[in-house]
Amino acid sequence: MGIRGWRTAGFAILGVACLLVWVSGSTAGTMIGFSVSTQVNPFYKAMADGVRDEAKALGMDATILNAEDKLEKQIADVEDLIQKKVQVIVINATHDGAAAVLNKAAEAGIPVVTLQRGVPGAKVASHIGTDNVVIGREGAEWVVKALNGKGNVVVMEGIPGAASSEDRKKGSAEVWPKHPGIKIVAQQSGKYDRAVALSVMENILQAQPQVDAVFCFNDEMAMGALAAVKAAKRTGIKITGMDANKDARDSVANGELAMTVALPPYDIGKMGATHAKWLITKEKPVPPRTVMPVSFITK
């Protein structure tokens, strides 16, 4: 419990890391640190794997510290990395509150690379991640194409006001008006929750005799909408999700969901290690902002 405990644990990990460096003896040259928000979620596990693998491939030693979704642990972790004098700090932040400690790193002459979550107010050399506005736009374009530009679409938003949901809404809202054949018959919030989306979709089906596609801002809601459509015995409705969770991918393979958007956490991690390398060797200029492409998983 408490920061003390975590700090002791942090020092213990640090100790082991130093020992490993000493034992291997070869990687003392280039050393980077990666502070990751959590390792419970497979998304961030893949991101850490990407950093680790690419750092190794580029001949660097990467110290990876897990903040366990706690800002105070992450701040302590980054302070430890500064003390360790790593050459670049790569961070997938838990919270905007990490800005102060990241500026401390920059003051100490350590460039910072943020992954997936931007940190406003922090002096950052490079940000790498997907852009939810782009995801919303490209997902909506996929739906328009799948309907050949004509049909009734239901949009299922996430938690009202959540940045990811509002950005995906913004991106998709750019697309619909360009296609006069597409009619948005309902745009409602399923709160990113399967059970909520089930009820919301049931209600929409009561009001809408003709629905051709359901565009959901995450997979959980797509699975809920699918349950509602199945229970109502309606057919020919293309339901799409985002995130490429395991059961959504299975459902796409079964031909139930039409599509889910896959984000590339592993590639984001790899790109983070690459930019860290460039920042050290100065072999290439590092772009301040890199938007990683997403892919569409279909049958």
């Binding site: 919301v200 009561q206 009001a207």
Partner: protein, 327 residues
Amino acid sequence: MLIRLLRSYGSLLGLLLIGTVLSLLSDRFLTTSNIINIARQVSINAIVAAGMTVVIITGGIDLSVGSTIALAGCSALLVARGTGDLVGMAAGLGAGALVGLLNGGLVAWGRVPPFITTLATMTIVRGGALVLTNGEPIVQSTGPYLWLGQASFGPIPIPILLMAAVLFGTHWFLARTRWGTYVYAVGGNAEAARLAGISLAGIQILVYVLAGALSGLAGLVLAARLSSAQPNTGVGFELDAIAAVVLGGTSLMGGEGTIWGTMVGAFIIGILNNGFNLMNVSPFYQLIAKGAVIVLAVLVDQLVKAGMASGRAGSPATTTVGGPPTA
């Protein structure tokens, strides 16, 4: 006379009023298929809210019901994998009852206030569901358990029949049994009830176990409806259940309340959500409208109570005012 009538049927009048407005605004509202749809959606909240009513009548509260829904669904499907659906269902109900036993034990024997107890078990139980499932949904798209959520008896879906059975059963328990009378007595004046020889601990444990088991049942119905169990489902469900109880005229101070009121409260929330979706109201405005209806209903309830009190004692200032829910 009018005030007494309003007191007894105020929430029902509210339901009819909202229903009338919605049927004027949307021609899809008052159809048989939509009414069945609403009742099926309401069933999960109503089952949870029935248990919540009994707890609140004792002067308690149960914030852990949403997490219990998740835990029950997940443990049911996990156990069902190895031993079949029937044992799985029993495990789900058992998990709910166990959470209730933990809540009741802490409140009755540990003397931890119900709000603190169930706030703590809310996160403990959520954590338990995440640990059990490693954070992943458990999908099971075949098996007899689906009957609970997806089958119908004639035109009536099973969740509606389960809701009716739970509401009748809880009403019978409160209104027709000795234990029910004790529940009101404990909520009305715990010390007097204790002096009258009622086992305070026994009643408290009983009501939390009942609430836990009913949340477990709701978790099974939800899992059956979705053909899967999610460890992160049911977040915020406690607020909908508390809102239904309060809309139904049950006092958060304990000692009074009815199951029928709660049922009406659950239907008010259900038709609001349904109406918003039918009319495609912006999600931002939905949040405002939902909160406003709850405050308005409780406000009217307080005014009516104040009216009754002044009718009796001529002094509305002495009326006890129960707080509206934090939803």
